[in-house]
Symmetry: C2
Subunit: 373 residues, 2 copies
């Protein structure tokens, strides 16, 4: 399918940064959580990839909407929503957490920010987790407010992100541990800054509250970034695939469980805590998952975008499917994320990938993140 | 903002019709319920408008996902979700129904199809009502399965829709009452067909189950439609505004209640049934809504797309905002849907609209649907 134009209305929410990325020549968009996500700036994905790995980029990730749980039962509700054990979570910590339904199907994979013992933000991927949390709270009669605060995340990602952050916030951010956050001062207003982000190149995500503050923060970062060859950017598909970063809706849907998604380390499976979907997940854990998300590196010239799962086969028998694929300029081969059946997910297994043009391409299974071509 | 290209991945689900509309030259897309909605076919919106009012169009509305509630408590759960009184709903009936939260904020406005006393489909607008219903069912421990069936709605709309439907299904559909549905036979398989649709030009929505059946139905309608000057189409913005058809996310959000949206006739307000948000809604009903969705017709040349609410003022004081606006070739003026404060919503009230270029335009409030310019 070609890439026709996106029609924008109020229903596709603009962010405080939309006017800025428009002025910077944004050339593609996606929609996440009913909100605009920039997806390209008139450079190739490969050019953008090398820039991200070398300098620093400013990303409009306002589509990462926050679901706030606040009140006496906030922690109770949150633990019901995830198999991740939150008993030792501390204020100031970010926690990547699968959310699952009663069948252990993936509903989302937010980063949880523990703001206080009775207050959490879930920085969500593309699904209305607000409605799931509201429904549970309503049905259970819990003492918790479920809201979408007026918060507009942005990210700076890349090896120069620490330098850039230090310009605005001083050296204190340099020592912020990975997946911790800190409340910083910007123009006299508090902004939460976390050492997180949807790349493996390092950097921060910032959570300004309110449209004006968000735009001021964007502008200040952009201005200070001139010294670091800053560029507008967005989650980079090559870097994401090589890094094994999963995308909800692409690699994970309600039809996949967290063990199939390789998220076992975020699942408490000893029965010591209760959560929705626990019985289903424990049953799956008894024998282990029947399939697993893995990397695939495959031959041929640059593949098209994977808009529907592509079959993966061994000896003519389908053993999995590709969910996301793209040409890697570093490996000089195509790289992909794929779901493989048990028995076929070991590294170096030889497979055949049929891309959407119907072409058969020879491929090999890899670990994630990918370390060699 | 310009209209940059939409990036398509697995997360933006294609429908069985996507390949067909692509071949027919689709030129614009929107995303609804994580699914592609075509938004233009290389004709102007005005050309498309006249065609829709004259002939018949085939619409890919596969994005109208179904939420199925099935089981002993299906009716109980559904009544909790809507202020519409469902006690007399009958099998074969379609019911337009506001869904609201505990504060009476609008969550959606689906058409409910009553398939059986213990089985309903909600044909939803853009929000994950599946998660809301799942959360409620889980929290309340109800005996109901909440699923998204493999159903791909399509629509035929326009004055020749009855003729076209008769070609495939015989004359029995001609007598189908407005907002009733019927189980029809297509190639030996049952398909639900309803006299509904997101236009005021008449026609049907069809609910084929399964990708292959859906595509076969599309192809059969397209082929038979050649005799009726059939064209691919989509909800038409001019026709929708003139007809007063509201769009969730544009006119209605969680910040609006159904009385503000002019949906009082779908709200049981005598206290005889219980539903989530009832107390909040009854409080609002006591004094009536403070604002109301109305039409506005305003001067000047063709306005741009309304991507953010435009202020409406009287004597320099803001009294409302435009949510959707477009040039009407029939009225030869701009037409809009707008939220007006009490005291300013009477027909013929003179107002000033400030469109996104900052231009002041003289306007007048109208009833909905609009009947005169």
């Amino acid at each position: 399918m070609s890439e026709p134009r996106l029609q924008v209305s109020r229903r596709q929410r603009a962010t405080p940064y939309t006017a800025r990325v428009d002025a910077l020549g944004v050339s593609g968009f996606s929609i996440v959580n009913h909100t605009i996500l920039p997806k390209g700036f008139q450079k190739s994905v490969a050019e953008d990839y090398w820039h991200l790995k070398t300098h620093v980029q400013l990303w409009d990730v306002g589509c990462q909407r926050q679901v706030e749980l606040r009140g006496a039962d906030a922690a109770v509700l949150l633990q019901m929503m995830t198999p991740r054990d939150l008993r030792r979570a501390r204020v100031g910590q970010c926690l990547y957490a699968p959310l699952i339904d009663a069948n252990a199907g993936m509903l989302n994979d937010p980063i949880i920010l523990k703001l206080a013992d009775d207050r959490y933000w879930l920085s969500i991927a593309d699904a209305d987790i607000l409605l799931w949390a509201m429904g549970l709270a309503q049905g259970l009669g819990l003492d918790v407010e479920v809201t979408e605060p007026d918060v507009w995340p942005l990210a700076i990602q890349g090896p120069k992100a620490d330098e850039l952050a230090a310009c605005l916030f001083g050296d204190e951010l340099r020592s912020l541990p990975f997946f911790d956050f800190k409340v910083c001062d910007f123009n006299g207003v508090s902004v939460i800054i976390a050492r997180t982000g949807f790349s493996k190149q390092g950097g921060f995500e910032m959570y300004p509250q309110g449209f004006q503050l968000a735009r001021s923060l964007w502008d200040a970062l952009w201005e200070a970034g001139a010294d670091f060859e800053i560029s507008p950017g967005n989650p980079n598909l090559i870097e994401r695939v090589e890094g094994g970063l999963l995308s909800y809706g692409n690699e994970m849907t309600r039809a996949e469980n967290p063990l199939e998604c390789g998220l076992e380390r975020y699942c408490q499976l000893d029965g010591s805590i209760d959560y929705i979907g626990r019985d289903a997940l424990l049953r799956i854990a008894e024998t282990g998952p029947e399939r697993l998300i893995r990397g695939v590196i495959f031959d041929g010239d640059a593949c098209p975008a994977c808009q529907h799962p592509w079959p993966i086969s061994v000896d003519g028998q389908q053993v999995g499917y590709v969910t996301t694929a793209i040409w890697s300029p570093r490996f000089e081969r195509n790289v992909a994320l794929a779901m493989l059946d048990r028995g076929y997910w070991e590294a170096d297994t030889e497979v055949t990938v049929v891309s959407s043009e119907g072409r058969e391409r020879r491929g090999i299974i890899t670990d994630l993140p990918m370390t060699s071509g």
